[in-house]
């Protein structure tokens, strides 16, 4: 099971945080800080796995992370997940973001964090992997965005009549 998914930049500023187990707000922030502390200390050419910090559940959990330019993508998982599989999952996630935002960069994540949540929700649900086919995900997201757009359009019409 995936316990948490965190994205933060090289200075530790959180860009996305999703927890699949209930933690209080304070604990969540502490976990983000602790994870950043652990991950930022790592060299460039070491493995992508870290034993988890004290806060997010102790020795059974691992941090699996990838560093892309200015962003760290960190998945905190328990021992039932395949480590190499999660690495691939992170890659699929990033590639999907790339497809939805067209050459995604940190600014996209900053200004559209709700969209990132929506994309993530199509891939991971309740801490389990839902869908890994990029095309399926992108199709769904586009359909939902269209739905949203159609609603705002309807709402604006009455005012135009005034």
């Amino acid at each position: 099971m995936i316990k948490a998914i965190l994205i933060f930049n090289n200075h530790g500023k959180p860009r996305l945080s999703k927890f699949y187990q209930p933690y209080s707000e304070d604990t969540q922030q502490q976990i983000i800080r602790e994870t950043f502390h652990l991950v930022s200390k790592r060299d460039e050419n070491v493995c992508n796995f870290l034993e988890g910090g004290l806060l997010i559940g102790g020795s059974d959990n691992k941090l699996i992370y990838r560093h892309y330019a200015t962003l760290y993508f960190v998945f905190c998982v328990d021992s039932s997940e395949s480590e190499l599989g999660i690495l691939d999952l992170i890659q699929v996630f990033v590639e999907t973001l790339d497809k939805c935002f067209e050459n995604v960069c940190e600014l996209d994540l900053i200004f559209h964090v709700d969209k990132v949540h929506n994309i993530l929700a199509e891939m991971v649900m309740g801490g389990m992997v839902l869908e890994t086919n990029m095309n399926e995900i992108v199709t769904q997201i586009e359909a939902q965005n269209k739905l949203e757009k159609s609603e705002t359009f309807i709402f604006q019409s009455p005012r135009q009549d005034r």
Binding site: Q29, C47, E51, S82, E83, G85, N118, M125, E151, T152
Partner: protein
């Protein structure tokens, strides 16, 4: 109504926050905006509610409070618009976990959306349910989700399946509902549904042996699905680096592992396929390796053919040599899982594992350490410990504790000779003394005590080690104990096994005195040293003047434990000299599993009363009171309790007089009134005795001007960790009414770090027929109390 013009759009808010140059500025912007958002929520503007909530969720990400948006999530979820629901459900997942009161209120909305919503809306509802659904909600909505498993839309079905997994985790009885549909779901072609189904079946099998038996019938089908995936040519849809849907493959392999465990027939069925995957998978990319690892683990866990097992372990061995560190990490992890069941197979790779100890990568060396320790056996123990000792000398500090205790444990289990054992322990204590467990000293003394032929050897080696380095406390403790016991062997005769060592009596005494005086020595260590000195008085041939002098000095030591010992030993020299020799004879061997010693060590590290064999009166009241005083949080203090004495006031006073502490001289520090309730008043008066700058004496005085007596009065105190606190027994536990005789209690506080004093008090008493409990921190403590 248009939203107030000073309220920002989400993008603008983000922009403004980014432009803030300092944390304070950012806080200001956010607080201003939150005020607008709160106003907007109050005014109930439905048009822009989703935008307001989106902004709130953004500041929540940054760590600012957002709980006032919880009810808005509910309103948005209930709205008919998809835009509103989308943000509302997201907000529910972020703000409304199951510990919030408002959590249950979304149940109805979810129910409606599940049964009547369009696909996208059903998807939102399922997502939220699987993320934060509580047990109650799951029970309520189980049938809705079950219906959705048969929906025509693949999108909804795959989400429903995963939601079912969550529901089973929360409410295991629901397994009965979700088991039957699985058979049909396995026939699906849609990979998303298949993935979810395999996850669901895995969860069911892990929870119930009956389900496990039921699903074993599906092994052939699972094998078929996997085979199709493996042999299908390149299909763009689900492939990652040329491997068809590795996620699904890994899930199926994991399920096969569970089904084939301890079951010949199932294992038989999967054998060929596993062999095929193990040999044909492309290992040039990560995806292939992920599948291969899972295959290896499955092969090792089921009843597979011997040849296949050998193949699997060899694959792991190969991966240990891979240049990719991720692969090596996973290889080490997998080998660790196999080391119990296939010990000899893993042993073959021992040299490579030991190589990995030298990795600069902390994650890898940690795994290598665990695996190395697991591979130690009686035939390789000396070589392995040699390697591990080398590792201990250079490993990162967070691994030192594990490495040290691992070495000591392995030494205990497999030591070929006692002398080797002593040497190894000595080396560990010298290298990483500060990281060993508390019982290491006890073990060493036990070990030496039991090896009579090695007494001379041990004492000489420990003496040399001690002479070089006084800082490693466990080493110092063990060495002083040894010198105390076997000091005579140190001085006379020669020992063939060590270099010739000429030691004079005076040198030995001087060394022990250095230990006593060193600021690096813990109180417990000093205790050891003092006792060792006294023992030497019967072992050495010279006169005992020097020893008597030192013991005499410590009779007025501030540390009460040392003081007590010194006084007792002094008495031993004076009044009871005739029995001194008998008392200080060599100790007979202590039985292992001496519970007294171990429990004391665990209870308090700072004041560890690691006496050799004499049982120390344990204080069960201490731990119970400490539990009670867990309420005293904040500056987590070391709560103390009055010494267990006779409760009568008379004897308490006598005890006060017995203690050689000077009566507090009148002090210029002003008194402080700290508590007042219904006539009961508590005052504190402070005294700083002139000779001891770190000592503070506080007298708590309780007076009662009300009409009723205060009875069963207990006052407890707590201070921050850097302080040492002793409460002496109170003068009584009743404060009589109408201004009767006040009750007093003395607190002794040692403040070696001169830190600002913080004090929390806990009072319990009966007054006017009611029992009262008060906990409070004392404010306005005068600075003269601690500066």
């Amino acid at each position: 109504m248009v939203a107030s013009s000073s309220s920002l759009k989400l993008q603008d808010l983000i922009q403004e926050i980014r432009e803030a140059k300092t944390q304070a500025q950012e806080r200001e912007v956010i607080q201003k905006e939150c005020a607008h958002i709160r106003a907007s929520f109050r005014d109930g503007d439905p048009l822009h509610r989703h935008r307001q909530l989106a902004k709130l969720l953004y500041v929540h990400l940054l760590g600012y409070p957002a709980h006032f948006g919880q009810m808005e999530c509910l309103k948005l979820i209930a709205s008919p618009r998809f835009t509103d629901k989308r943000v509302g459900y997201l907000g529910a997942m972020l703000l409304l976990d199951e510990r919030q009161d408002a959590h249950l209120l979304i149940t109805n909305s979810i129910k409606t959306d599940l049964s009547q919503g369009i696909q996208a809306v059903q998807g939102l509802a399922l997502c939220t349910l699987s993320a934060t659904g509580s047990a109650e909600m799951c029970r309520d909505l189980a049938t809705e989700v079950e219906k959705l498993l048969l929906q025509p839309s693949a999108y909804v079905r795959k989400k429903a399946v995963l939601t079912a997994v969550h529901m089973i985790r929360k409410v295991p009885e629901l397994s009965d509902i979700f088991l039957p549909p699985c058979a049909q779901l396995l026939h699906e072609h849609h990979h998303g549904i298949l993935l979810g189904t395999i996850t669901l079946i895995t969860e069911l099998c892990e929870r119930s042996p009956a389900a496990l038996k039921h699903f074993r019938k599906m092994v052939p089908q699972l094998v078929h699905i996997l085979r199709t995936l493996v042999t299908t040519g390149y299909s763009k849809e689900h492939s990652i680096s040329g491997v068809s849907d590795p996620f699904l493959q890994v899930q199926i392999l994991r399920l096969l592992r569970i089904l084939g465990r301890n079951h010949e027939e199932s294992s038989e069925t999967m054998n060929d396929l596993l062999a095929q995957v193990a040999t044909n998978t492309d290992t040039s990319r990560n995806a292939g390796n992920a599948v291969l690892f899972e295959t290896v683990l499955t092969i090792m866990d089921i009843r597979s053919a011997a040849g296949l097992r050998v193949l699997a372990v060899n694959i792991l061995g190969r991966f240990l040599l891979n240049t990719d560190r991720n692969i090596r990490y996973v290889a080490l992890t997998s080998l660790l899982r196999l080391v119990q069941s296939d010990h000899s197979a893993v042993q073959r790779h021992r040299p490579t594992v030991v190589e990995c100890l030298r990795e600069p990568d902390g994650s890898l060396s940690r795994r290598a350490l665990e695996l190395s320790l697991a591979l130690v056996n009686s035939s390789n123990v000396q070589a392995m410990i040699q390697e591990l000792q080398g590792f201990l000398e250079s490993c990162p500090p967070d691994l030192q504790a594990d490495c040290a205790s691992g070495i000591l444990l392995a030494a205990e289990r497999f030591a070929p000779t006692k002398r080797w054992h002593i040497d190894t322990t000595l080396r560990v204590l010298t290298t990483a003394g500060t990281h060993v467990r508390d019982d290491a000293v006890a073990s060493l003394t036990q070990l030496i005590g039991g090896a009579q032929e090695l007494h001379a050897y041990s004492v000489r080696r420990l003496y040399s080690a001690l002479a070089e380095d006084l800082s490693q406390q466990p080493l110092v403790q063990a060495a002083t104990w040894c010198i105390g016991e076997y000091g005579d062997l140190l001085l006379e005769g020669s020992c063939e096994e060590t270099e010739p060592l000429q030691v004079e009596e005076e040198e030995v005494l001087a060394l022990l005195e250095r230990v006593l005086q060193s600021h690096m020595s813990l109180p417990a260590t000093r205790g050891y040293a003092l006792t060792a000195l006294v023992k030497l008085s019967t072992r050495l041939r010279g006169d005992n003047n020097r020893i008597r002098q030192v013991v005499s000095i410590y009779r007025s030591c501030l540390d009460v434990e040392l003081q007590q010992r010194a006084v007792e030993y002094n008495t031993l020299f004076q009044k009871y000299d005739h029995v001194r020799a008998a008392i200080l004879e060599k100790i007979p061997l202590v039985e292992r599993g001496g519970s007294q010693v171990d429990e004391e060590a665990k209870e308090s590290k700072e004041t560890a009363q690691l006496s050799e064999a004499a049982p120390v009166p344990t204080e069960p009241q201490a731990s119970k009171l400490l539990d009670l005083l867990d309420l005293l949080d904040g500056p987590s203090g070391d709560a103390q309790h009055p010494r267990p004495l006779d409760p009568t006031p008379g004897s308490a006073l006598i005890h006060l007089l017995n203690l050689p502490c000077a009566p507090p001289p009148p002090a210029p520090i002003p008194n402080l009134k700290v508590f007042e309730r219904e006539g009961l008043q508590l005052d504190l008066s402070f005294v700083r005795p002139p000779g001891t700058p770190t000592l503070l004496l506080i007298t708590v005085t309780a007076t009662n001007t009300s009409g009723g007596d205060v009875t069963h009065f207990i006052c407890q105190a707590a201070v921050p960790k850097s302080f040492q606190l002793q409460l002496q027994a109170p003068s009584g536990d009743t404060v009589p009414a109408q201004g009767g005789l006040p009750m007093t209690q003395l607190l002794r506080i040692l403040n070696p770090k001169k830190a600002p004093l913080r004090l929390k008090l806990r009072l319990t008493y009966n007054h006017f027929g009611q029992s009262v409990q008060e906990i409070f921190e004392v404010n306005n403590l005068p600075v003269e109390a601690w500066q």
